[in-house]
Symmetry: C2
Subunit: 199 residues, 2 copies
Amino acid sequence: MHIDDLSRRIDFLREIDRLKSVIRQSPLLDASRKENSAEHSWHLAMYALVLADYATGAVDITRVMKMLLIHDIVEVDAGDMPIHGASNANQMDLEQQAAARIFGLLPDAANREFSQLWREFEAAESDEAQFAKALDRFQPLLVNVFTQGGTWSENHVRYEQVLERYGPTIQRGAPVLWELAHRWVASHFSVVDVTNAVT
Amino acid sequence: MHIDDLSRRIDFLREIDRLKSVIRQSPLLDASRKENSAEHSWHLAMYALVLADYATGAVDITRVMKMLLIHDIVEVDAGDMPIHGASNANQMDLEQQAAARIFGLLPDAANREFSQLWREFEAAESDEAQFAKALDRFQPLLVNVFTQGGTWSENHVRYEQVLERYGPTIQRGAPVLWELAHRWVASHFSVVDVTNAVT
Ligand SMILES: [Ca+2]
């Protein structure tokens, strides 16, 4: 363990502090403010630990946790891409440059491990990546349901759009979670419809 | 997997959202605001991943990450106890009640696992717990060094007090990190002294 090894690791850990200042669209559950990507990543790692039994296939939960801890680090350079925003063709390029720069702060072996975990998450092919992706969709859905619509209300997102944007990813990685989420969503939108009809 | 199992897990995940509103003494590295305990826990899990080779003994890094992800959850009820604050004799009682209530939201097996991991962290006897404790001291030390003194300046903490409050815990769990930290601290306080002498 050369001193250069340690100082590169420290540089990386200092750099990723900036993830605490990347603001997402989703609010906290008490609606006091928007969530940032660092605390979102903590919460997702907890979702993985607590909901591991609901994954499709026998996932290696350590790899799922690692993926979720690092999945948003590219946002330090590239920013958060909102699920309901206009999609940006350059976003994938930006994120790849960000991964190269930020993981590149680390010594080679660690750089390779993190880059590969991040690419695996993005590719959404392995059981671990599909479960991680499912949780990354399930958590903001839960937040919207329990904050009277959250980003759905803000962005005038309709019932069918929610099914389309969240359903396939959650269904693939964690089907029982989608059963539950689908019921929440149906109930949420029927309440909204009734409210609209009455007022 | 009974429906009651899933709904208890969801209740727990909703409850711990409140950790994002527990504010610590330490600032972010850009000094824009104070850090909260959820993003702090994310950062510590990353410290564990990135600095695993510097642990005393051959630690199981998955258990270290789990410990760090849950170590502050009791603060949802008990609040954060600042390292430089007056120590509160009731704090340990409060934290034990908090652990019983919050982990008790989970199904029995998960409650037992998390409660045991949290007690292991607090006991600071296993190699994993000692490494986790070392990181939990090293991270705020790094923040203070790179924010012109941070909570040390605010609380008029002297060089000898820093050595005493951070040294033994970091030294025990990660001796090479303490070598580095000790140099940072010595350099920080000598710069402060020189500055004081000049102005
Ligand atoms: Ca995400």
